[in-house]
Amino acid sequence: MPGWRDVAAVVLVFGVIVLLGEGARQMTGPLAGGHGPAISLSPAALPGYTLRTVLRMLIALVASFVFTFTYATLAAKSRRAERILIPLLDVLQSVPILGYLSFTVVFFMSLFPGNVLGAELASIFAIFTSQAWNMAFSFYQALRTVPTDLDEASRSFRLSGWQRFWRLEVPFAMPGLIWNAMMSMSGGWFFVVASEAISVGDVQVALPGVGSWVAQAIKTRDLAAVGWAIVAMSVAIVLYDQLLFRPLVAWADRFRYGDVAAQACPRSWLLDLFHRSPWMQHACRPAGVALTRAAHLRLSPGAHGRGYEWASRPFSRRAGDALWIALCAACLTGATVAVLRFAAPALAWADVANAASNGLLTLLRVAVLIVLASVIWVPVGVTVGLRPRLAAWVQPGAQFLAAFPANLLFPVVAFSILRFRLDPDIWLCPLMILGTQWYILFNVIAGASALPTDLHEAATSLRLRWRARWLRVLLPGIFPYYVTGAITASGGAWNASIVAETVSWGTTNLSAGGLGAYIAQMTARGDYPRIALGIAVMSIMVVGANRLIWRPLYAFAERRTRLA
């Protein structure tokens, strides 16, 4: 007798499959007239557009997982590959994505001329890059910290490399990986909205989706349409969270290593539904069995596999290293020469100076905004974090706000600036931090919740005044969490500057100057060498800020608050 759970589960699954199929069919349609189908602003079309947007996110997520499993595994297993791959990942995490969107669009569209698939791939690639680097890093670190006794056990029972990967390393890394995927997903919505309406020089593409809906609404000055887009996006984010990520996080909890009994055991109504529905259990059993069989395959070259780990002779190892370094140096010089040859004829030193001064302006803005956001949200976060019941509903709210793409709100702000005749130089700046300030808030909330209760019980029993309590107990306690949030917020602010420092409403274009506006203007003009210059300057600034400010700050925070 089918229970209500069975029916609910079946309806959900079939509904999702139908939606996915419909979206996929539309994706490979021809590119009409080289500019894509016209975006209709009628609310009835909005659900379809939202579906397309969500589909792009899903595909990018799958691609990120595939990339993570290959790239991070290679970096963790091969010492030589590690020396290249990890610094590369570091730099890639800091390069502003919207900057090189212009290059990737042209590249992908040239691969599939006349088909909308090229533009789709460019948009998906932009989302992919916002998640893949973080996830690869998290997986790499998990692979490096596999517990020794489990590793020894698997080696002593002669598990092959393939078996070890799927039965030890991936399960161990799973909780961190899923959590990281969820966090970087929040940034992904921003990029998918920003990358759907692409205009680079005379290449104009508007992919069906919420982002191009909003771009169309901006062109026709339709504020109500922007409102509808905000509603649709909120619904999409909530559904994504409830139907995909919360169940995944709850499922990944079984792989948690360590005896720490988490007070907040992640629960998901969807996962419970699936677990308790007999039909679902039956339907998934064949797939489960097949996957388990696949993971149990030996797939090792010899009958006994490799017993000892690679023990190469020191001389050949050093010769191999020298060769590898020579090869990398050759590639690096080749790349530098190619870049110079591309950029040198079109650029003059005046351009570099211009870009650098713009960069400093944006740097100043980002610094001021981070300080302002910290001053406002750190006290709020600490106060909320110390009260568990309050934190239980504020934290998901803050996570939602962090995921919500702030660029959907930009047209509203542009409209207000024009309406009330405000100065764009000042009033456009907060847009940069609008979406990313929430990272500071929810990280500080997490830090305050994680503060050991005995530390602030001691503060209370010593009757510390509020100043001493804050300066000596609370702020140092949440410091590492704050730094994590601030790093994410500042990185997000740099990315946002490209779409925040110049905003349009109808035919009016508001610009606040700065590096983001520079890159956006050059993109609109299609001036590739200057786009490259702008990206280079921004990357240098972000990497520099990372190395000189954030990393030392994080190391300092860790050292000071370590108890063991």
Binding site: E152, A153, S156, F157, R158, Q163, G258, Y308
Partner: protein, 446 residues
């Protein structure tokens, strides 16, 4: 479980007369292990170890923590390649984990995301058997070890003793000939450990498994005498076999049996003699940096002297009795005793520890007098602390970075030893009032 060939040994481990000895199950032939120091030179950890394990015997490797016995076990398991010598399993050289060898780990090494049944089935992953056969063997192993009913439980739901049973089941499911155990009962409480030991000995005595020989690593003297037929005592730097003892007692063995106690006392004597040696001349001969300091805080030292000087002991006691009175394991007592011997506040003899004149003065003095005495002895007997003080005096600003001493130590000691030694030196130097240390800036000062 698969049946056994006719045993050549009687259950209590003695050889039957008239049978020729078969080839050893495991042979370690002049095995040595060195680690590479940061300067590139090899640092020997184990040197010239010869072990031959025959069918039907349980061999124990006894030694203090850090004597290299776990590393030796990993050589036997094929997890670590020896830098010198070779390991032979049934006459053939060992090239990695081999079929027929199984390991039981100190920390159980269970996969938290697998049920008990799945964890045990892991032991047969490399065998290539069909899933049905694997399941059947896993179920019978679980039954043999006494955990039937718990097949679908996860490790986090089980107590320590039950987790180690799962570890045993996983090791036994593949029907190994050689069982290697790395301090299998040391992570368990006393009662559970006792139960598991007797259960294991029952399995061994009744020949319910295909195991022909067992190699066990332990730091617990009584456990070694209770379980093993032969005991190798490891010690020294680099580690080598300092003594071999046979335990010809019949099983089940009684802890109160005089013969049992005699063997335990002999082992105590050997170990305390090693303690005195390592704390004394051997280290200083290598200069300031070769001396390994035990990880004992000044607080503990002072407390121990107080306990020793108390009326009950009047300044001298047998280590075993002292451990019993203070209700600590003997292995915890050894480092403190070694530290006191090093600082010449006490003397380690045969099996006893005795306060020296300085030690007795220390016990009776007040706090500032104690610090003065401690300062004198530390400067005289711990070259590293004297060296730090010297360096601070030489410099005008009286500051020195920690990294400088770390580098000097790492030339002579293994990295973990260097860190422990430096930490202990900082602790003792601070208590003696010889210098101060700031962990944020990692510098020594006045």
């Amino acid at each position: 479980m698969p049946g056994l060939a006719q045993p050549a040994m009687t259950p209590d481990g003695t050889k039957q007369p008239g049978l020729t000895a078969p080839a050893p199950v495991l042979e370690l032939d002049q095995v040595g292990i060195s680690f590479a120091r940061s300067s590139g030179e090899p640092l020997p950890v184990l040197d010239d170890i010869d072990v031959a394990l025959r069918e039907g015997e349980i061999l124990g490797l006894l030694g203090r923590s850090g004597s290299g016995k776990s590393t030796l076990l990993r050589v036997a398991a094929g997890l670590v390649r020896p830098t010198a010598g070779r390991a032979l399993y049934r006459g053939a050289p060992l090239e990695g984990p081999a079929e027929g060898i199984a390991v039981v780990f100190q920390t159980f090494a269970l996969y938290p995301w697998l049920t008990v049944l799945a964890n045990v089935e892991l032991g047969l992953d490399a065998s290539g058997l069909k899933p049905d056969a694997v399941r059947a063997r896993a179920m019978s192993a679980i039954e043999m070890i006494g955990l039937d009913g718990f097949e679908s439980a996860f490790p986090r739901e089980l107590s320590g003793g039950m987790r180690q049973r799962v570890g045993f089941a996983r090791a036994l499911v593949s029907g190994p000939k050689l069982l290697l155990m790395d301090e299998p009962f040391s992570a368990l409480d006393v009662l559970t450990a006792e139960t598991l030991r007797s259960d294991f000995l029952d399995l061994w005595a009744q020949r319910q498994t295909a195991i022909e020989a067992v190699l066990m690593v332990t730091h617990n003297i009584e456990e070694a005498v209770l379980m093993c037929d032969r005991i190798h005592v490891l010690g020294g730097h680099p580690g080598h076999v300092v003594a071999t003892l046979k335990v010809p007692l019949a099983r089940p063995r009684n802890r109160l049996d005089p013969a049992f106690r005699a063997i335990v006392d002999t082992l105590y004597g050997i170990l305390t003699a090693r303690l005195a040696e390592s704390a004394g001349g051997a280290g200083t001969a290598r200069g300031a940096f070769g001396l390994r300091l035990p990880a004992v805080s000044s607080h503990r030292l002072v407390g121990f002297i107080g306990a020793l000087a108390a009326a009950a002991h009047e300044g001298h006691a047998e280590l075993a009795a002292l451990a019993a009175t203070l209700m600590v394991k003997p292995d915890e007592l050894f480092p403190v005793a070694a530290a006191l011997h090093l600082l010449a506040f006490a003397e380690l003899e045969e099996r006893t520890i005795k306060l020296t004149a300085a030690g007795r003065m220390f016990a009776l003095a007040d706090d500032s007098e104690r610090k003065r005495l401690f300062r004198e002895h530390v400067l005289q007997f711990v070259p590293l602390v004297a060296h730090i003080r010297e360096v601070l005096d030489e410099r005008e600003v009286h500051r020195a970075p920690r990294a400088r001493f770390e580098l000097e130590l790492e030339d002579h000691l293994h990295r973990a030893d260097a860190e422990t030694t430096l930490r202990t030196a900082i602790d003792w130097g601070r208590y003696a009032g010889l210098f101060s240390y700031d962990d944020h800036s990692r510098t020594f000062g006045d």
